[in-house]
């Protein structure tokens, strides 16, 4: 039985070797799963909490874009569309930003909860007002 390769070593290898190649897996330094963003739904809303500071090393250009875009709340799906990146890649990038508390995320109502009638009312009234 072989153990999975050391995560930090793998990450270092990909990061160093990937260089300027901007493939989705390079943007995420080879990772396909976010550190803590695994719950990120397509319609989880992301909003910027603060701009990256000097001590926020390792924040890539795409993540700077996310921070800039999400000054108004945007869904994970919108972030992916505006960055023109696959959802999975965006989930990883957002996981990093969440770790650093650069963004805050509001998950949608859990699917096991019945939607409150007030949600239906609010959406119906909102649509009528359009």
């Amino acid at each position: 039985m072989t153990l999975p390769p050391d995560e930090s070593a793998q990450e270092l290898w990909v990061d160093d070797e990937a260089g300027p190649i901007v493939r989705p897996y390079a943007l995420t330094r080879g990772r396909t799963r976010p550190t803590k963003g695994s719950l990120l739904d397509l319609i989880s809303l992301v909003v910027t909490v603060r701009s990256p500071a000097e001590y926020d090393v390792g924040i890539g250009p795409e993540q700077h874009k996310v921070v800039s875009l999400c000054r108004r709340p945007l869904s994970v799906a919108e972030v992916a569309a505006y960055l023109n990146l696959p959802i999975g890649t965006v989930r990883v990038l957002l996981g990093d930003l969440l770790d650093r508390q650069l963004v805050q995320v509001r998950e949608p109502r859990p699917p096991t909860d019945l939607p409150d009638d007030s949600i239906f009312k609010a959406v119906i009234n909102g649509l009528r007002a359009l």
């Binding site: 809303l45 569309a81 696959p86 959802i87 995320v105 949608p108 699917p111 009312k121 359009l130």
Partner: protein, 203 residues
């Protein structure tokens, strides 16, 4: 006290919650048109790249080297209030990608099945999917120019719908008409006692 890992941000901006409605139906029936008719932005497109492992029903005979599949989803946004945002998702192609539908349908307020009377059978799989998963839905017949105006009764009979499922005519290009379809869906969905129960696993 850990500075980096305090429980939740001390000061945070107010973040609204989001909810969603699905727009399903056969290829070319006008799903993205309807999304664009009511969305506050032009329809956006997002892609999910899936590994071969995640595409169990995909017939890859002849293209064995292809190990990933890209599923594109068109969607739009309507900001209802400072607290609530509605997303409209056009569902990706029928007959494959059911697992993407599962993700989309989970927690959705409901679904609109767009039908084209020239190709009514194209919406059978959508109707079947939402019936099986208990997702509240209505059928909206997109009235294409030149298409024969079916009687709603005929459509209902052809689709063998439950009597309480609303069927209506619409013009997916028109904002007002598309709005009316959305409102009709929500009025229907809020009356459903079993709404949004957990989807059953796909057979």
């Amino acid at each position: 006290m850990d500075f980096e890992r305090s429980d939740g941000p001390v000061v945070g901006p107010r973040v609204p919650t989001a909810t969603k409605i699905l727009i399903a139906g056969g290829f070319g029936v006008g799903k993205t048109t309807m999304v664009g008719a009511v969305s506050e932005t032009k329809p956006l497109r997002t892609e999910e790249v899936l590994s071969e492992k995640g595409v169990p029903v995909d017939d890859i005979a002849g293209v064995e080297q292809k190990t990933t599949t890209t599923v594109a989803m068109d969607f739009g946004r309507i900001t209802i209030s400072d607290d609530l945002v509605l997303y409209l998702f056009g569902t990706p192609g029928q007959d494959r990608f059911w697992f993407v539908w599962d993700e989309l349908a989970l927690g959705a307020l409901g679904a609109i099945v767009l039908a084209d009377t020239r190709r009514l059978a194209d919406c059978f799989p959508s109707v079947d999917y939402f019936e099986r998963h208990g997702t509240p839905f209505i059928v909206a017949v997109n009235s294409f120019e030149g298409a024969r105006r079916y009687d709603i009764v005929e459509v209902r009979a052809a689709l063998d719908l439950d009597p309480n499922v609303p069927v209506m005519l619409c013009d997916a290009r028109q904002r007002q008409s598309s709005k009316e379809v959305l409102i009709a869906l929500l009025e229907h969905a809020r009356r459903q006692p079993s709404r949004n129960r957990r989807p059953e696993p796909v057979q």
